[in-house]
Symmetry: C2
Subunit: 295 residues, 2 copies
Amino acid sequence: MSARLSSLEDYKKILDDYDTWLFDCDGVLWRGDHLIEGVVEVLDILRQRNKKVVFVTNNATKSRKSYRSKFDQLGVEVHVDEIYGSAYAAAVYLSSVVKMPKDKKVYVIGMAGLEEELRDEGIAYLGGTDPNDNTLEPFDLSKFTPDPDVAAVVCGLDMKINYTKLSKAFQYLHGNPDCLFIATNEDSTYPSAAGLLPGAGSVSAPLRFALNRNPICTGKPASTMVHFDPQRTIMVGDRLNTDILFGQNGGLKTLLVFTGITSEEEIFGPNPSPIVPDFVTQALGDFRIVAEKGL
Amino acid sequence: MSARLSSLEDYKKILDDYDTWLFDCDGVLWRGDHLIEGVVEVLDILRQRNKKVVFVTNNATKSRKSYRSKFDQLGVEVHVDEIYGSAYAAAVYLSSVVKMPKDKKVYVIGMAGLEEELRDEGIAYLGGTDPNDNTLEPFDLSKFTPDPDVAAVVCGLDMKINYTKLSKAFQYLHGNPDCLFIATNEDSTYPSAAGLLPGAGSVSAPLRFALNRNPICTGKPASTMVHFDPQRTIMVGDRLNTDILFGQNGGLKTLLVFTGITSEEEIFGPNPSPIVPDFVTQALGDFRIVAEKGL
């Protein structure tokens, strides 16, 4: 059963108990292009208390640098190091966990943001935004020479997905069981400003099906994404099956807000979700009570 | 346990017992561009005995008419009515089983052969080879007006698959639970002359994943594809998980040949496949024994 925060003491205790605050962004900090009320003040409260804040996003089409401009536009001050994206997570996974040798390369299904993160980690890549791979011309397998240095395929949301990219990625993975298969995230849909579209998980679905093989997923809800002291870390999110599950997979406490996807009905209704956050509150701005009444 | 045909009596009995002979093509009649020995003679034997022969193919990129040219090139005489393709099966399913009203339309992910079969059945369609849908330009959902007459999405192998087509198909299916979702076939891979490529099932995989919904499949191994008297019909194929399973799903007897994908090891080895054909023989040409020694 989730505890509903309400009194000054409830909010103070949460602030005292956790040093690291992980935030999902859309539905927690903003909705589309509108900042949610009280967010700037609550982030100020956290920073005044020397809390570490980390903004976790599955959006692999943007690098952390370009994702920061979203914060800038909305007047929220953040440092690039505070943003933890699934594209960055994939790049760090290859450079720091797998420790891929420097002479090896990655075949990319994905967009400029994913390439930028790989580049920043010193990882060579093929595919991605290369015009030769962004084509609807027929793919001629007999004229394709695989690069023997490709040691991984990384797949993120790619709005220029096509048969040539899928076929090349398939060749690398099918022909070489040692070739790593990495997905930035497996969201089935992508919430664009105008509505739902197929998500990153739908872009990797052809490869999963053709190969009968599942990728290593570096985004939410994979627990590999962020490592902090779980005793002192809380994940704040609006989606049960990504944000809250991600927190729980990492052994973290979780706080659900109702400013995004999940409704109160899903938590307190007659058929509650099996994914149960530790705490719920209406909106992140509720923590302003501590500055208004507390200290 | 599969019965291995060997004596003149074995082959005569099979010929006597079955009036309708369904054939998979690649691996049974030909391999790539090479006719398998004895095929023309055996088809002659069947026709002389007034057997109905049907050539069943999951290749939905070609219409039956264009598929016939493959037979012509190899010197095998067939009539268009004897060819039963998964694209044709999808069109017939809509026209004869669902009886889709004439003012309704289909959104197509697929190639010219699928469009030709729909046209021949009098079914209106959108998408497919339309240049507006064969683009890598960004898809702008806010500028997309769904056609309210679309009552089905049909998905086959499409080597020009792209985000615009996937997004439009997703909108039709996600926005309208009554919209039919039909796949010509769900082969994970496509055996091109130069090697394996992602198959039709990989092209529909993004929609299956984004929607968490499975299509109605009209090709092998779906039993909806062909309707004959199962007591007097035999399916001849080289693949266990499509051809033989397709026959079994339709309640037909099955004959496996070893001129294609499946090896004798998979049937008679220490770890046999759970899919067990009724009969096996080395090659279709083995039936020539009836003309040579019999009658």
